[in-house]
């Protein structure tokens, strides 16, 4: 049985010019996570080579994501290219989001 998912339930605010340091809102993190789950799914186990994210420690995920962004670890195929498209804070929030998805 497939797990759900990024809730795309929203609570929304005004879209306005903002400072670069602003933390992404919970809704914004979910929108960004929508792109992750297309490959990684939302369950704690995947059947293929792309690792699952749900329920993994936030620190593990965020340190991996930040390393992909900065160092392009030797074992990466695509995540270095993807991580570079996010601000550090967004990667940390995405890590927290997936850490918070319930493990099966």
């Amino acid at each position: 049985m497939r797990h759900v998912v990024v809730s795309v339930t929203l609570c929304l605010g005004l879209i306005a010019p903002a400072f670069a340091d602003d933390a992404p809102s919970a809704e914004q993190v979910k929108v960004m996570a929508g792109g992750c789950v297309t490959c990684h799914g939302t369950a704690a186990k995947t059947t293929g080579s792309i690792p699952a994210l749900a329920g993994r420690p936030a620190e593990t995920l965020s340190s991996l994501l930040l390393a992909y962004k900065r160092e392009a670890p030797a074992n990466t195929t695509i995540m270095d290219r993807i991580a570079k498209g996010f601000r550090d804070e967004e990667l940390v929030r995405l890590a927290e989001f997936f850490a918070g998805l319930k493990q099966k």
Binding site: S7, V8, C11, L12, L14, T77, A83
Partner: protein, 439 residues
């Protein structure tokens, strides 16, 4: 490019939504879904009709119900099963069965409460907010989502019409045409040439013709060692060209030949009865099997809805995918002009998630969040050799633009181990996106 120019500044959650959000983090997903699947008051929050059960439409229906289970969501799709275009080239190369490409709608209905109507959409009355189905039935909508994919532009290449496609298959819509092309590939003689006619941009799945050439060459290398693949192109470049060419040279030598537009490769006329195509300089290429991938446009229902522009495609607002031409009609996927995003199943799935969130928000009187998109595309050069391109996109100045210094191609010096890993990821991606869309 400044991608930080717009941010959500404040949140105004109502208490019920706050509980829901907490539920996503804290509770098991299954009970959470269970309360959602069969809402007693479906429809009170708004009626959304989705046309098209592919990557765009099915994802939209699913994520609309996740966003707000009280929405009345109807998915209109004539076929009871769906064959994916992604991985159709693997089937053509003999790497998987046709049945492995089949997706169904049971989960959308049973788990999410989407109403499935197996009928073809015929017409849209945007003023009355109704979708007319073939057979006369009408569905009323508050928001209409069109995700109908492409139509082929018959006779855009002279002589290439529906009848010609029976002899010279396009196989650019999945299912029967792809099956026919596979049978023809199997039946040609060793030493025969397989010609692929590739169109100018924009078209569905820009790397597709070249993955097709790759996997046909792979099949020939195993079963028809004297056969070759000839690509006649209306362009001077193509998606992942350097990576494809590197792989072809390593794996297939001169088994694949690519003729660019500048080199005379553009096909201007088709003679189906003679199994022949004519090039711009008047020369004629005859072959045992010719696959013509013709120019394309947004599917006809978009014309009926009045959302198509003079280009043949559909301009949309990038934060919501609402048509720029007709209010309350959202259009997703290959039919759209989506800025920097290519026409792919991944893109359609990404459009759908953004649009579903936006529609659910707007129907509740709220402003949608900022859009964010990823597109990733793996192409197989051989069963254990894949190459990839990915892009990340945000909205800037009312357009979908690629986020600078991110995304891009597999490195040209990736080496066999990474190409093998990307081939595994291609399989894993297919399993994940089909679940994200239909399950």
């Amino acid at each position: 490019m400044n991608r930080r120019n717009r941010k959500v500044e404040s949140e105004r959650p109502d208490p019920a939504r706050r509980r829901l959000l907490a539920g996503v983090i804290a509770a098991s997903a299954l009970p959470w879904l269970g309360t959602y699947a069969r809402p007693a008051s479906a429809g009170a929050a708004g009626r959304v009709v989705v046309v098209g059960g592919g990557f765009g439409g099915a994802t939209a229906a699913r994520y609309l119900k996740i966003a707000n289970p009280a929405l009345d969501v109807t998915l209109v799709e004539p076929k009871t099963t769906f064959h994916t275009c992604p991985h159709s080239n693997l089937y053509l190369g003999g790497l998987c069965s046709l049945s492995s490409l089949v997706q169904r709608y049971d989960h959308l209905r049973d788990r999410y409460g989407v109403k499935i109507v197996h009928a073809a959409a015929e017409d849209v009355d945007a003023t009355a907010h109704t979708l007319k189905l073939v057979g006369g039935k009408e569905l009323h909508y508050d928001r209409l989502v069109l995700a109908p994919g492409i139509d082929l532009r018959w006779n855009a290449i002279e002589g290439y019409d529906e009848a010609a496609a029976e002899r010279l298959p396009h196989a650019w819509k999945a299912g029967g045409q792809v099956e026919q092309l596979r049978h023809r590939l199997e039946s040609i003689a060793d030493g025969d040439t397989f010609v692929i006619v590739s169109p100018e941009l924009p078209f569905r799945c820009p790397p597709g013709p070249y993955e097709r050439a790759s996997l046909a060459a792979h099949y020939f290398s195993k079963h028809k060692p004297k056969s070759k693949v000839l690509i006649l192109d209306a362009k001077d470049s193509f998606s992942k060209k350097s990576l494809f060419m590197q792989g072809w040279e390593q794996l297939y030598g001169d088994r694949i030949e690519w003729i660019s537009k500048s080199a005379g490769g553009k096909v201007v006329r088709v003679d189906a009865a003679a199994n022949a195509v004519e090039l711009a300089d008047g020369s004629v290429v005859k072959a045992a099997l010719i696959n013509v991938i013709p120019p394309q446009k947004a599917a006809a229902i978009c014309d009926r809805a009045g959302v198509t522009d003079a280009s043949g495609w559909v301009p949309v607002k990038p934060q919501t995918f609402e048509s720029r031409l007709v209010k309350d009609i959202h259009v997703l996927g290959d039919a759209t002009i989506a800025g920097a995003m290519p026409k792919s199943g991944f893109s359609a799935n990404a459009h759908a998630k953004v649009a579903a969130v936006a529609i659910a928000a707007e129907l509740s009187g709220r402003t949608p969040p900022n859009a964010h998109f990823i597109n990733t595309c793996y192409s197989l050069v051989a069963p254990d050799y894949a190459i990839s391109v990915c892009g990340l996109y945000r909205v800037h100045n009312d357009a979908i633009v690629e986020i600078s210094d991110s995304g891009g191609f597999s490195p040209i010096d990736a080496g066999p181990e990474k190409h093998r890993k990307e081939a595994e990821h291609s399989q894993s991606w297919y399993a994940a996106i089909t679940k994200d869309t239909w399950a």
